[in-house]
């Protein structure tokens, strides 16, 4: 993987090994390395936000030399946006063949990197919009014995979205909830109708996605085995599914 990016950049460091690649290259390798280690955090069983968000945040932090506080604010912003976007839609999006991890992970990764790089509200809106154009990940490769490109691809594309937004590319306004927007494409409709849900209620409201934003932290639902949480994710159940 590192050969692909060798010879260019040098702006970002590969964890543990220390070689320097382009931002996107280092973020890609770091995401793959975190995935390979298997010690992931988990949000609602089927997404692993840290595998996308942390490589993006680290690349942005290395680029800007930001403070630890801004780094943590960026990580927090990435998790909160990604998890709110994903929460009710994970089973439905996966039932359509998308892998929810990278499909939602790209948004978390882009938000974290964009916050750390100091993008303003217009640019952040543009970054979210380009992520809608780049969100990807399919389940069939892993189902049929292959190994799917997942968060590594998402985090590369997230940094591309941030770079475009930083240069002022206008993204559009209703890229998530619009008639031809993200939820229409990936969940099958923009009316909150779900094919499957965690709770059995097959309807939600898109307005709920941002309800209580900044006051109620969905981020705190993340299962993080290093935190002293009661219970935890059943990793073995996830692994048959994800670790291919």
């Amino acid at each position: 993987m590192q050969e692909e990016e060798a010879g260019g950049g040098g702006a970002a460091t590969v964890l543990c090994h220390g070689n320097r690649l382009t931002k996107a290259g280092a973020a890609f390798v770091n995401a793959e390395m975190i995935l390979a280690g298997g010690k992931w955090d988990t949000f609602r069983m089927l997404t692993h936000p840290g595998t996308a968000i942390l490589p993006a945040a680290l690349a942005a932090a290395e680029l800007t030399g930001c403070s630890g506080r801004l780094f943590l604010a960026g990580v927090t912003a990435g998790y909160e946006v990604m998890e709110r976007m994903a929460a009710e839609f994970i089973p439905t999006v996966m039932s359509r063949g998308f892998h929810a991890g990278p499909v939602f992970g790209i948004f978390g990764a882009a938000i974290a990197a964009a916050k750390i790089q100091g993008l303003d509200a217009d640019q952040l809106n543009g970054a979210i919009a380009q992520c809608v154009n780049l969100a990807a990940g399919n389940l069939e490769g892993a189902r049929s014995g292959g190994r799917s490109l997942r968060e590594g691809g998402a985090v590369r594309n997230a940094l591309l979205a941030v770079a475009m937004a930083r240069h002022g590319t206008p993204g559009g306004e209703t890229v998530l909830e619009g008639e031809a927007g993200f939820y229409h494409a990936y969940a099958g409709n923009n009316r909150g109708e779900l094919r499957y849900s965690f709770t059995g209620d097959n309807h939600t409201d898109l307005a709920k996605i941002t309800q209580g934003l900044g006051r109620n932290w969905m981020f705190l639902e993340t299962l993080d085995p290093l935190a002293k949480l009661s219970g935890g994710c059943d990793r073995s159940a996830c692994w048959g599914h994800c670790m291919r």
Binding site: M1, Q2, L15, C16, H17, N30, E32, M33, I34, L35, A36, G37, G38, K39, W40, D41, G50, T51, L54, P55, A57, L70, F71, L72, A73, T76, A77, Y79, V81, R84, I111, L119, D120, A121, D122, L124, N125, I128, A129, E173, V175, L176, E177, G178, L206, I209, T210, Q211, G212, L213, G214, R215, W217, F219, L220, T222, D224, P225, L226, A227
Partner: protein, 105 residues
């Protein structure tokens, strides 16, 4: 609401807002005013679920953008900062575990 009704019948008011509410409203409190879903309660609930300064016409991506742009470390609750540190450590630990696996090269 149930707590409020109970306290009106003899419990000690425990918070400033509740005491103020009882002192200003005690004479006028009727059963109707304590029914959940009464107009006042509904308006209050609505005010609590919407972020201050939120523009009702904002699209989802604009709401997210405004939230992220104004987010400051100093405003984050302790639990949130603690979790952000936790997930960062988790990812770094996982990278250490996976550093020599083929996918990391």
């Amino acid at each position: 609401m149930a707590d409020l009704a109970t306290e009106e019948h003899g419990g000690e008011p425990q918070t400033v807002s509740r005491r103020a509410f009882l002192s200003t409203g005690a004479a006028g409190i009727s059963a109707a005013a304590l029914v959940p879903g009464a107009p006042d309660a509904t308006a209050q609930a609505a005010a609590q679920t919407d972020r201050p300064g939120k523009d009702a016409a904002m699209s989802l991506s604009r709401e997210f953008a405004a939230f992220v742009a104004s987010l400051r470390y100093e405003d984050l609750p302790f639990d949130v900062v603690d979790r952000a540190k936790g997930v960062t450590l988790e990812a770094l630990a996982s990278a250490l575990v996976g550093r020599n696996m083929p996918a990391s090269r």
